[in-house]
Symmetry: C2
Subunit: 320 residues, 2 copies
C-alpha cells in the first residue's frame, strides 16, 4: 500500500469512532457546531502519526485509538478558535464555525472539544501512571499552542521578527501537537524513555516541516484544493519563514487586502520565487524532516517505522 493509502486507512479508524466518542447529544446545536469541521473533512494526520508511533513500538492500535481521537479534537478546537482570531471565513472548503453559528457558539464549540479531549484521553485503557503522563503532555502542549498562536498574532504587528522567532512560534503553534501525538502513542504502548525521546523528536520535526510546507501551500494552491482562501498569510501579514527571508533580502511585499485578486496574489508569489524565499523555506522543511527521520533509527525495524518516515516526507511534499 502507498503512504497515502496507509494514512487514509488510519484516518478512517478515527472517522469510525466519531459517533461513539462525540455523539450529537443535547444541546444538539452545540454538538453540531463542535463536530462541524471534523464532519466536513480533514486528513487526520496527527491521529495517524499517533497510531503509527504506537505500532512502531509494538502497541495495540485499538487501545490508542481514543487517544488519537482526542488529539484530533484538540486540533479541531484550535482551528475553530484560530479562525475567529484570524477572521478566516472558510475552512476545509466549508464556512468556519463562527461564520455558520456565530461568535459565542464558536467559542463554546471549541471549549467543548477541549474538554472532551481530556475526558476521552483520561478514559483510555492503560496504566494510570501512563495516563497521567499523557494528560500532562497534552495539557502542556495546549498551553504551548496558546503561546504560539499569541506569538503568531503579535508578530503581524512587528517589523523585527527573526527566523529564530518564527521557529519558536511554529514549534509551539504547530509542532508540539505532532510531537505530543507520537509521544502519547509511544507512552500508551509502554515504550522506553529512549524511544519516547525519539518519537517526540520525529513528531516535532515533522510538525515543523508540515507548517513550513503549509505556508508555501497557502501561496501556491488554488482555493478549491486548499479548502480556504489562497494568500491568507499575505493578507493577514503573517511572518512566515518565506516572508522573513524575503524581507531580509529587501523584497518589498505589497500589502494585500481581503478580496485581493488572483493576479495580485500571483504577482507577490512571483517576487517570492525570484528572491528564492520559497525555495529557502522548502529546503529548511526538508532538512528538518531529514533530522527527524534520523532520530527514528533507534527503533526496531518495522513497517510502521518506515511509514512514519514516509509520512514525514509526505508532510513536506504534499500539494494540499
Amino acid at each position: 500500500m502507498h503512504t497515502i493509502d496507509e494514512l487514509q486507512k488510519r484516518g478512517q479508524m478515527i472517522d469510525k469512532i466519531v459517533d461513539q466518542l462525540l455523539p450529537i447529544t443535547r444541546p444538539k446545536e452545540l454538538y453540531l457546531a463542535s463536530r462541524h469541521l471534523m464532519d466536513v473533512g480533514g486528513k487526520r494526520l496527527r491521529p495517524a502519526m499517533l497510531i503509527l508511533a504506537a505500532e512502531s513500538v509494538n502497541g495495540d492500535i485499538n487501545k490508542v485509538l481514543p487517544a488519537a481521537f482526542s488529539i484530533e479534537l484538540v486540533h479541531t478546537f484550535t482551528l475553530i478558535h484560530d479562525d475567529i482570531m484570524d477572521q478566516d471565513t472558510i475552512r476545509r472548503g466549508a464556512p468556519a464555525v463562527h461564520v455558520k453559528w456565530g461568535l459565542p457558539a464558536a467559542i463554546l464549540a471549541g471549549d467543548t472539544l477541549y474538554s472532551k479531549a481530556f475526558e476521552i484521553l483520561g478514559s483510555v485503557d492503560a496504566d494510570s501512571n501512563r495516563i497521567v503522563q499523557c494528560l500532562k503532555v497534552l495539557a502542556n502542549t495546549c498551553a504551548d499552542i496558546c503561546e504560539g498562536q499569541w506569538l503568531d498574532m503579535t508578530f503581524v504587528r512587528s517589523a523585527e521578527v527573526s527566523e529564530a522567532d518564527y521557529m519558536e512560534m511554529v514549534e509551539k503553534k504547530t509542532a508540539v501537537l505532532f510531537a505530543a501525538s507520537t509521544l502519547i502513542g509511544g507512552i500508551l504502548s509502554g515504550c522506553t524513555e529512549e524511544e519516547a525521546d525519539a518519537l517526540w523528536e520525529v513528531g516535532r520535526t515533522t510538525g515543523l516541516g508540515f507548517q513550513i510546507r503549509d505556508d508555501v501551500l497557502d501561496l501556491l494552491t488554488p482555493k478549491e484544493r486548499l479548502g480556504k482562501n489562497r494568500g491568507s498569510d499575505l493578507i493577514e501579514g503573517k511572518k512566515t519563514l518565506i516572508a522573513i527571508h524575503a524581507l531580509k533580502k529587501g523584497v518589498e511585499l505589497e500589502h494585500l487586502t481581503r478580496g485581493a485578486s488572483e493576479e495580485e496574489i500571483d504577482a507577490v508569489v512571483q517576487k517570492l520565487h525570484e528572491s528564492g524565499s520559497i525555495d529557502y523555506a522548502m529546503k529548511k522543511a526538508h532538512q528538518l524532516v531529514r533530522e527527524g527521520k534520523a532520530k527514528l533509527e533507534i527503533l526496531p525495524d518495522s513497517r510502521a517505522k518506515e511509514l512514519l518516515k514516509e509520512l514525514a516526507e509526505y508532510m513536506v511534499t504534499r500539494t494540499y
Copy 2:
C-alpha cells in the same frame, strides 16, 4: 474565627501560590491577560470549598492546594469567555479581559488558563489512580459548563423556559464546578465512595444556591459593590428563576437596554418583589442548601464539616 475569616484564610492560600503556579512568563502580555481577573479580585469560594472538603476527610491542605488553584483557573477561564459571549464589560470592578486586551487575546487567555488547570491538576502529589479520577471529573465538569452556558444563551431567545430547564442549566453552568471542587478535595485526600458522594452533593446544592443568590444580587446590589453592572440579567434577557416565576405569574417585564437608568432597573425590581418572584427564588436557594447540609451528616464531626455548612449558608445569604 467567623466563616468569612476562615474563608479568607483559605482564599489567601491560593493568592500566595499564584506567582509560583502561574508566573508571568513569555509571552508576557498573554500571561498578564490570563491573570488579570485573578489579580483584581475574587473570593476564591471554589478553592476554599475544595480545601475544606479535604480537611473534612482528614486530608493534607498543602497537598490539595494546587488542585484548588486549578479549580480557580477553570472558573476564571469561564468568566473570561462568558464575558465575551455575554458582551459584559466590567468584572470584579475592572474592565473585562476582552475590553482591555481585545477579543483574540481574551479567547487565548481563557484557553491558556484551561490548559494550565489540567497541567497543574495533573502534577499534584497523589496516587496516579486518584489523579486520573480527578482529571476526568474536571474534564467532564468543563464539558458540562459549556453545555450550561449554551443553554443559558439559547434560553434568552426562548419564551418557553421552565423551572426544570433553569435548574438543569444552572446545574451545568455553575453547580458542577462547586461539586467538582468538593469531590476533588475528597478524592485527593483518600475519602471513601460514600464520602465522595456526600461531598459532591454538598458542592452541587451549594453551587445551585450560590447561582440563585447571584441572580438575586444582580438585581439588588449596587454596581460598586457587585463589581459589574447591576441588572445585567434583565438587560440580556436571561431566564433566571426569578424571571421564570414572574413570567408564570403574568408579570410583564419591560425590555431594558444597555445603559438603562437606576430608576428603570428599580421599577422592574419593584415588580419582581411584588410578584413574590425574588422571595420564591430565595426560598428555593435556602431549601437546596438545607438538602446539601443534610448530606454532610455522614462525615465525622469536625470544624471543617461545620465550616462547609456555614459556607453553604453564606452562599445564599451573602450581599455581594
